[in-house]
């Protein structure tokens, strides 16, 4: 259960420019609290940039993003304690053990009893028996599980997943999908980028397709996301086939 209620996000005319290249253009979307939104699109379509803006890791070149708890605007500083993110990289220290990593981040998030929180977080990801092992000794899948544990440590109201299923075996993918469904059902807002067809998409309530930094398809909160997910998978597979 997330300690904090799900956050509502509102992107208004968001544009992101890297030098001469426009990574995002004219993004206008509102994501309601408790939605589980999949961002689909080719590499370089702007999915990661959108997630980074939502995580406040990068600022939009134009436009703005606002967060709401219920109807109340939440300041960008306050939002940080309610955001969990799994990125392309694991965001973990290889010279620390799994437990030390989680204790470190629990302390940074100001959680009470960090050691207890770390132990609790390691149980569901199946790493309790490896708590004292250095992260550098872990396989890719184990690192990814630990990365997910780190993201969920502070019971976020907004979870950002950037291809979080990468490196997980089929069993891991199923576990991740079940975790996402559980978080969604408990009110956590989830925004995730995804590729092809995978288990995590079974939890999705809305799908948004990005192309060259623009939203081309949006199933909407009440629509059926499957059509967009299938279309994205077919296009990706088609291009892979041609290649």
């Amino acid at each position: 259960m997330p300690a904090s209620a799900g956050l509502k996000l509102q992107f208004s005319e968001v544009e992101k420019r890297y030098g001469m290249r426009l990574a995002l253009r004219g993004i206008n979307i509102t994501i309601a609290a408790g939605e589980c939104v999949a961002l689909v699109g080719h590499n370089g379509s702007g999915k990661t940039t959108l997630l980074k803006i939502a995580a406040q890791l990068t600022r939009p070149s134009r436009g703005k993003i606002a967060f709401y708890s219920g109807e109340n605007l939440v300041s960008l500083e306050e939002v940080k304690s309610q955001v969990g993110m799994v990125g392309h990289h694991t965001l973990l220290y290889e010279e620390l053990t799994a437990e030390e990593n989680l204790i470190f981040f629990a302390k940074l998030f100001g959680l009470a009893d960090p050691a207890q929180k770390a132990r609790q977080a390691l149980e569901p990801v199946g790493l309790a028996s490896r708590a004292s092992d250095l992260v550098r000794t872990f396989s890719r899948g184990m690192r990814q599980r630990l990365s997910i544990a780190r993201a969920l440590l502070a019971s976020p109201g907004l979870l950002l997943l950037d291809e979080a299923g990468t490196g997980l075996d089929p069993e891991g993918q199923q576990w991740l999908a079940a975790s996402i469904r559980r978080l969604r059902d408990s009110g956590c807002t989830i925004l995730m980028s995804t590729h092809g067809r995978n288990e995590t998409q079974t939890a999705v309530t809305r799908a948004i397709r990005l192309e060259a930094g623009k939203i081309t398809h949006d199933s909407g909160a009440a629509g059926d996301p499957k059509k967009i997910l299938v279309m994205a998978a077919v296009r990706e597979n088609g291009e892979e086939g041609e290649a």
């Binding site: 890791l57 306050e78 940080k80 990125g87 965001l91 220290y93 290889e94 030390e100 940074l108």
Partner: protein, 224 residues
């Protein structure tokens, strides 16, 4: 979370990771020892010359140690993009810089303390009678070195040719610290010893100004 607490948590993590691997400290100590020994063999100074030129050589060696050690301060955060993880945390962005500055200060001071006896022997300088004054100069100079180096390490880590960029950015900015520290050390090693308040004040002012500037622009320094 308060700035001091977040800084402490990051400092503890820095110390734990470094003392676990000892990669940085080990290589820096060996490198600086080689520099000091080579300087000694190259110049073969008399006792009078040592008092005059030794402090400059010593601080040059510390500067080399700094540029070697500080390079990896932010580079190692790039391995798994852990800097992003730090920036995701609800903490003052300056605490990331401050934690790293404190760790770099301690690492550099440790290297300097290891190096001092070797310097005293090779250059035939008695440092024990003036150890307190010398440590004061070392502390102020090293704060400047660590603060400046950490900030420029954050800047350089995000650039291409980052390994070359840090010394290019750092050395000119550190020239005032190098001059002030060298002059203050010359005074301390003079017979009779004379602690120059002018140079000490200069060093303290440099430290305060640079730390304040880092605090003001810290958030922007860490952005992509």
């Amino acid at each position: 979370m308060t700035l001091a607490r977040a800084t402490g948590v990051i400092l503890a993590k820095e110390l734990r990771t470094e003392f676990r691997s000892r990669e940085l400290l080990g290589t820096t100590v060996v490198f600086v020892l080689i520099v000091i020994v080579l300087f000694s063999f190259t110049f073969n100074p008399t006792s009078t010359e040592s008092r005059r030129f030794g402090p400059g050589l010593l601080w040059l060696a510390f500067l080399f140690a700094g540029s070697l050690m500080l390079q990896s301060s932010f580079l190692r955060e790039q391995t798994n993009d852990t800097l992003a993880a730090l920036r995701l945390a609800p903490i003052d962005p300056f605490s990331i810089l401050a934690g790293k500055m404190a760790a770099n200060f301690l690492f550099l001071l440790l290297v300097e303390v290891i190096l001092l006896p070797v310097f005293a022997v090779l250059y035939n300088i008695a440092i024990l009678p003036v150890l307190g004054q010398l440590l004061l100069v070392l502390t102020l100079g090293t704060i400047g070195l660590a603060a400046t180096g950490t900030v420029f390490s954050a800047v350089a880590a995000q650039a291409r040719l980052r390994e070359l960029l840090l010394p290019l950015l750092l050395l000119p900015v550190l020239a005032p610290v190098l001059i002030a520290s060298t002059e203050a050390t010359i005074g301390v090693l003079r017979d009779p010893a004379e602690l120059s308040l002018v140079w000490l004040t200069f060093l303290a002012c440099f430290d305060v100004v640079f730390l304040t500037a880092a605090w003001m622009v810290g958030e922007y320094l860490l952005e992509e």
